[in-house]
């Protein structure tokens, strides 16, 4: 066992919750039988290849595909002209959100990044499609482009889109692209290596910042650059589509089965009931496959045009372009500390590299996370989301959280060293507790968290890591090797509310959970339903979870992103199990007399307290069908979503059909928290360093499935560590081309880049604002994992080594040589 604490029993009061078990998808995975999108075949299937823009920004003047189309085996070509008009979105309460004119459409006549798909060719095989692509002639007209956000903010700098360079938010409407230029004074005033702070479209603040800084014992003002990191799911976003009887059948990976359906409908501009979406196994998402995307609609439309199934295999290089990435930040923070180390004032300024398309929330989220995590007494946040001609971004595990935490953590580490305060102690006095407040203020009031037990996690983690012992290590240096230790905290939103649960108790006495969650490996697709089984008191062996195919009827489900699922869907699972229990009681009372509340549900039976008579689940399910109405799904609850209502109707008559909305109250916004500790060993003669020990201690509420939780805690930790030790993009800014397209260039961590034994543990303290007490875990581990490694490095080498991540041998050596950070301090994508 890698973690001694892991052996402890989670949730001793439960039979299923907090217990390890074998998930239903695992056998198919280990035998190679699990089918991912590219594993499907269809009769007469064509292959598709994309033609990608060689230029970072251009207008397509002419496409000549005659020669390609004349090739034997070439069946169809799809260009931007074939795309449906972008559809407006209608929210559940009927609000219409107009389709953005700046939105990504899949194929384009105005490519805004190098590698953007311009057209697609379908042919009988991939080789023919590839040859055909090479025979297509395109005339481009170059347009101005920019790959570094600061370059477009300069006076007279090029704009990445024809009508602007930044996203601005608009009250009550979707954000718009506008032009923003800073002044020469902004740039010169900042001085070398410091981020200029010009006008920003967005700003918020609370408390008295000025007096905070005036009274601070120490003020630290630092600039820091975080990397753009591709999601790089191991499964490229390949997709296969075919049409049958007016419906499109689409196979591809997703994080959120139920929610992907309306997204595809919007992209294709057709009704959702004309789409069957199959995604039983997804080869990783990390935020890049939350719902629909360009990779889904191209084969769908091409299949329609070619009148044959189309498989679009996405190559690793194409994945680099269309596969999404985290926005890098150029950030600056000025933090005032009291002599005890309490943060009294915090002035945060961030520039987020958004890529060319949809506005990402990273910039604003970074302020929210920093505010919650370190509870500054006064704070101002300013941010600008800048467009660039680089591949499109999307949320990536801890969007904004990673960047914000990575910018502030080295400052806290430096302040602790300056003030002579222990690194754990300074975090302990600043970190949130209970219903902790955070910005931005809403209607003049700070928001607050549902709960926070981070102080416990920090303290226990420090003990388990033997923090004091390691800090006191003497000597720190032997020969050319230096050891350093780092601690960091992080937090992230840990769940939403208001979704639906749906289950069927079948006449054979089994319980079938309808799961609209995507199966991307975190196992929440199955895990959350253990809550339902726990409440119904049915052995897990008598349960079945149905997932991954929208023709199987799912309830309204949250998107599996932003650490929502475990929280949102255990609530829904709880609600629907309570509905099922009530119905079982009513059915029993109806058949056997008495009042529903006289009956107990346990051991797969409904029986009267103290009496032998009762009925089995099987009998109750049969009886539900006889009763009809709300019992077998012929009537659905009025408060569930229309998606759930349709599924209830489709399942009607199969047994006892339970459906319910999560109407549980919640005071505050749910967040999860992690404390982490890292020790590194750096060789000052080569700049090479290793993370030798690592511990993550999580405050995620009730533990549902320990092994799956451990996978998330450490897996997301390594994603964060990857940001510290090597992951990045490299662009040639003159040509606007990415040069770091291969793994050995952009450096996803290997198994030998992390400690051979990593440790994790969870507090297992229930969140008081949710019935099961469980919160989400996907995002929270990422930021502090990155920061704890960076902090360990500065513990070993001092503060004058780096002001950007990742930190590699080159950064360390060259800075040690010069005695100051000398790596281009602000330049993006190096």
């Amino acid at each position: 066992m890698s973690d001694p604490i892991n052996n402890r029993e989670y949730g001793p009061q439960y039979k299923l919750i907090g217990k390890n078990y074998v998930t239903a998808d695992l056998h198919a995975k280990v035998t190679g039988k699990a089918k991912y999108a590219e594993d499907f075949r269809a009769e007469g299937m064509l292959f598709c290849k994309l033609l990608l823009s060689p230029l970072p920004h251009a207008t397509v003047k002419r496409i000549d595909a005659a020669e390609a189309l004349a090739m034997p085996g070439v069946r169809a070509i799809l260009t931007a002209d074939d795309l449906p008009a972008p559809a407006d979105t209608v929210t559940d309460n009927g609000t219409v959100i107009k389709a953005s004119k700046w939105g990504e459409r899949g194929l384009t006549m105005e490519p805004v990044y190098q590698g953007e798909p311009i057209l697609a060719v379908a042919a009988v095989d991939e080789l023919t499609a590839a040859e055909a692509i090479e025979r297509i002639r395109i005339d481009f007209e170059r347009l101005p482009f920019v790959v570094d956000p600061l370059d477009t903010l300069r006076p007279g700098g090029p704009n990445p889109r024809t009508d602007g360079n930044v996203w601005v938010s608009r009250a009550g409407r979707a954000p718009a692209v506008a032009e923003l230029k800073w002044t020469d004074v902004d740039f010169t005033e900042a001085g070398y290596g410091r981020l200029p702070m010009g006008k920003t479209p967005d700003e918020w603040s609370y408390g008295d910042l000025d007096s905070g800084f005036r009274n601070a014992s120490l003020v630290v003002d630092e600039t820091f650059v975080t990397p753009d990191v591709s999601h790089q799911t191991l499964e490229p976003r390949s997709a296969m589509a075919y049409w049958q009887n007016g419906k499109v059948y689409l196979h591809t990976g997703t994080q959120s089965t139920a929610q992907t359906l309306p997204a595809i409908a919007r992209w294709l501009n057709i009704d959702a009931d004309k789409i069957v979406f199959i995604s039983e196994y997804t080869g990783g998402g990390f935020g890049s496959k939350i719902t629909g995307g360009v990779s889904m609609i191209i084969p769908a439309l091409l299949s329609k045009k070619a009148n044959a199934p189309v498989m679009m295999r996405i190559s690793r290089e194409e994945e680099t372009f269309i596969g999404r990435a985290r926005p890098g930040f150029q950030g600056r923070m000025k933090v005032g500390f009291s002599k005890e180390g309490r943060i009294v004032a915090l002035d945060m300024f961030v520039v987020s590299d958004n890529g060319p398309y949809d506005a990402q929330g990273d910039a604003s989220t970074s302020g929210h996370m920093v505010s919650l995590l370190y509870q500054p007494q006064s704070m101002r946040w300013r941010g600008v989301t800048v467009l660039t001609n680089t591949p499109p971004r999307s949320a990536q595990s801890s969007p904004g959280g990673l960047q914000g935490i990575t910018i502030i953590e080295p400052i806290i580490a430096k302040a602790a060293r300056t003030l002579g305060i222990d690194q754990v102690a300074i975090r302990y006095i600043n970190c949130p507790e209970g219903k902790a407040p955070y910005g931005p203020p809403v209607e003049g009031k700070l928001q607050h968290a549902t709960s926070a037990f981070l102080k416990d996690a920090l303290q226990r983690g420090a003990e388990q890591f033997r923090w004091r012992e390691r800090v006191a290590r003497n000597p720190k240096r032997i020969g050319s090797k230096v050891r350093g230790v780092g601690v960091s905290l992080s937090c992230y939103v840990g769940g939403t509310t208001g979704f639906d649960g749906l289950l069927v108790i079948t006449p054979d006495g089994r319980v079938r959970f309808q799961s609209g969650i995507g199966n991307l490996g975190t196992e929440s697709v199955i895990d959350v339903h253990r809550v339902g089984a726990e409440i119904l008191g049915i052995p897990w062996e008598r349960c079945e979870v149905v997932w991954g195919d929208t023709s199987k009827h799912f309830p309204f489900t949250c998107v599996s992103g932003g650490s929502q699922t475990t929280h949102a869907m255990t609530r829904a699972a709880h609600a629907v199990a309570m509905d099922a229990r009530r119905k079982l009681q009513e059915i029993a009372a109806n058949g056997l007399g008495g009042k529903p509340e006289d009956y107990t549900v346990a051991n797969e039976r409904i029986f009267r307290k103290g009496q032998a008579s009762g009925m089995t689940f099987a009998q109750a399910a049969q009886r539900a069908i006889e009763l009809g109405g709300k019992y077998d799904g012929h009537e659905a609850p009025t408060d569930v979503n229309k998606v759930t209502k349709a599924s209830v109707a489709a399942l009607a008559g199969q047994g006892l059909v339970a459906a319910a909305r999560d109407n549980y109250p919640r005071d505050g916004m749910t967040h999860s928290y992690v404390a982490s500790f890292a020790e590194i060993e750096v060789d000052v003669e080569t700049g090479k360093y290793y993370v030798v020990d690592f511990l993550a201690y999580a405050d995620v509420g009730t533990v549902i499935h320990p092994r799956a939780l451990g996978g998330q805690v450490l897996g997301r930790s390594i994603l964060g560590i990857g940001h510290a030790i090597g992951q990045k993009w490299v662009f040639d800014s003159h040509y606007g081309e990415m040069v770091s397209k291969r793994f050995h260039h952009n450096k996803p961590p290997t198994i030998l880049d992390v400690p051979v034994n990593m440790q994790w543990a969870a507090l297992d303290i229930p969140d008081p604002e949710t019935p099961v007490g469980a919160r989400g875990i996907g995002e929270p581990p990422v930021g502090r994992a990155c920061a704890s490694v960076l902090n360990a490095l500065s513990d070993a080498l001092g503060d004058k080594i780096f002001q950007r991540a990742p930190v590699n041998a080159d950064t360390i050596l060259i800075s040690l040589e010069a005695g100051r950070p000398v790596q281009h301090p602000l330049m993006a994508h190096i």
Binding site: L127, A130, E131, E134, R473, I478, G479, S480, K481, R483, E679, E681, E685, T686, G687, K688, V692, D693, G726, V730, F731, D732, S733, H734, Y735, V739, S740, K741, R742, F743, H744, H745, K747, P749, T750, I751, L752, D753, N808, A809, D810, T811, L813, I814, L816, E817, I830
Partner: protein, 331 residues
């Protein structure tokens, strides 16, 4: 990959006949790991692939009193695991074991490892640079991204040689056995590699029709004091930012004989003769190492993003002579 004809000759002479027949249209494949990148990226389009994996005479390690002879088609894994290589020429075993990944070492050959092409990301992505027959070096411009590139002997092209085994073989004074249309030719390891001043399109001297058939390591340096170090970003797959290999015979405390080479600094692995000369006769200490390290980087010129390579090379050369202190902490 675009279509090609595939040939699998079973003898060196059959292979030569094919190379003679197809000339510029032929592409020699050893393990294939370098080749398939070019072919899959549709940048190189040979008509005929000549796969050497069926040639038994090019495989395996033969030992004799004079040393070992390693067939060019011997896999890196076989080299790493060979008991005599491990025991007497551990420098090579160490270097080969640090190449790429286990699967690549299971398939990649010693001949392929020393003959692989440059990994400059501009060149490998098909930019029409000097090395590709064009007239620009994209890595050496004001905006060129050149963290992995050369600090020494750059001429027009700033790409570096990526091989890990090459410097070890130079340090071991290996001989490379070539089969050319004119017959067998045996050369010093050092002379196998060429810089852009000799030919900007190749990293080695093989001309179309030539084959590297085996590598002979003389017993001269068997059991000598060896040092190998590779510095890379990730601990699997990645090419060396720099590596260093040295073989020393130390008598008393004085360096009696020494050979030392680095790779990743220039388009060819560099044997540092001046360093060897300066170190000979001196004690194998870090003081000598420091002197040697400073000498090694004389004339080194940094590009915009690779200045770190100068102290890195200096320190690696220092260690290759003076060694490195073991650091052990109790966790």
């Amino acid at each position: 990959m675009p279509a090609f004809e595939l040939f699998q000759p079973s003898s060196i002479s059959d292979a030569q006949k094919l190379l003679e027949q197809y000339r510029e249209d032929a592409w020699v494949v050893a393990g294939g790991l370098d080749s398939f990148d070019w072919l899959k990226d549709r940048i190189k389009r040979p008509k005929a692939l000549v796969d050497l994996s069926g040639i038994a005479e090019m495989k395996g390690v033969r030992t004799s009193s004079e040393g070992v002879e390693i067939g060019a088609m011997t896999t890196l894994t076989e080299v790493v695991r060979h008991p005599v290589v491990r025991e007497k020429y551990g420098l090579l075993a160490e270097a080969a074991e640090l190449a790429a990944s286990p699967q690549i070492r299971n398939q990649g050959t010693i001949g392929g490892n020393v003959s692989q092409d440059a990994r400059c990301w501009y060149y490998r992505a098909g930019w029409p640079c000097y090395r590709a027959g064009g007239n620009v070096c994209y890595a050496d411009t004001p905006t060129g991204r050149n963290r992995e590139h050369a600090i020494l002997h750059a001429e027009r092209c700033v790409a570096v040689n990526p091989s890990d085994s090459a410097p070890a073989l130079i340090a071991l004074d290996a001989r490379f056995v070539l089969r050319t249309p004119k017959g067998e030719r045996i050369i010093d390891a050092e002379d196998y590699f060429i810089g852009p001043d000799v030919d900007i399109t190749r990293l080695h001297i093989l001309k179309p029709g030539d084959l590297l058939t085996s590598i002979r390591i003389p017993s001269t340096w068997a059991g000598a004091q060896f040092y190998f170090e590779k510095v890379r970003d990730r601990n699997v797959w990645d090419f060396a930012l720099l590596n260093v290999a040295s073989a020393m015979q130390v008598s008393g405390n004085a360096i009696e004989r020494i050979r030392l080479a680095v790779n990743g600094a220039a388009a060819r692995p560099l044997r540092l003769r001046a360093v060897e000369d300066a170190a000979r006769g001196k004690p194998a200490t870090s003081a000598t190492g420091e002197m040697a390290g400073k000498l090694a980087v004389q004339g080194a010129v940094a590009l915009q993003f690779n200045a770190y390579k100068i102290p890195l090379m200096r320190n690696l050369v220092k260690r290759a002579i003076g060694g490195v202190e073991e650091a052990k902490w109790v966790s």
